[in-house]
Symmetry: C2
DNA sequence: TCTGAAACGCACTGCCC
DNA sequence: GGGCAGTGCGTTTCAGA
């Protein structure tokens, strides 16, 4: 259980990261296999947790979330209780797509998607700044998405 | 063609963003519909581009890409040719999961996944720093993923 | 582990309302 | 728009190698 991945597993993961609608039959063809072993391997990769989930990727522009903002947050005090509270509250904010606790001077980096700059303003004013213990808050806007993928290099 | 989304469309998109393996039948059930209209709407949402693709999300730790780094890059010169070249070269780097052209002093923000700090070092030394015209390069490491989703709030 | 066959359910179509 | 009924295909299971 949970042994290392062989080359066949890696190929399957690479394919499914790009297109999870590929059928076991199609994947089998590129691997010179039948669909049964491919199917079983996918099932095993799901069960072992290598594949966490399958999702649809939407077009940010079309669904009107065009504005992406990177926001750097530093806390005023750095005790456990404050940090945990902050993490909890951030997770609940729907506008926040990513949040990382960082090494270095800045404590957290957030990526936020909104409809407009005005909506971002409201987000900061009514939601983010309501969180206790935020010291410095520094927002910079994305001019252009150069690259954006959910794929990992394996 | 390309009209506004109604509430049914939005519900379908919300569900598929969380779990694209949900069948039309299952989605239909939560909407008190049959599978035919749900199926047709999904097809339309794909064709209109609202749904860009379907992908498998892998576990970063299990596939050994545990180290996430945020790297801020500023260019030495800001002419069109240099910027385009930079964008092209970044897109080709497999370790780079995200790259944004920013407003403000920092020109680009990159998110990079590697197996180890050492591998990140090699990435900077042999790949990133080979790109022409990079002025300042500032790397900070992620201590913890607080939130990380491909979902948009719609 | 893989192959091949067989069962089942869903995707997908066409017709009706 | 949505419902209903049908067909083909992929998923899923299993015996055998």
């Amino acid at each position: 259980m949970m042994e290392q991945l062989d080359q066949t597993d890696i190929t399957i993961l690479r394919i499914l990261q790009k297109d999870s609608k590929k059928t076991a039959k199609e994947i089998a063809k590129t691997l010179n296999l039948t669909s049964s072993p491919v199917y079983e391997r996918i099932r095993r990769l799901e069960k072992q947790g290598f594949i966490k989930k399958y999702v649809a990727i939407l077009d940010k522009k079309l669904i009107d979330r065009s504005i992406t903002t990177i926001c750097q947050v530093s806390m005023r005090y750095h005790n456990e209780a404050f940090i945990e509270k902050f993490e909890e509250q951030i997770q609940a904010l729907e506008e926040v797509q990513e949040c990382y606790h960082m090494a270095g001077q800045v404590d957290f980096v957030l990526k936020i998607n909104t409809k407009s700059l005005e909506e971002y303003h409201d987000f900061v004013k009514y939601k983010l700044s309501k969180i206790e213990n935020i010291g410095v808050l520094n927002s910079t806007f994305v001019l252009k998405d150069i690259k954006h993928t959910s794929e990992f290099y394996i």
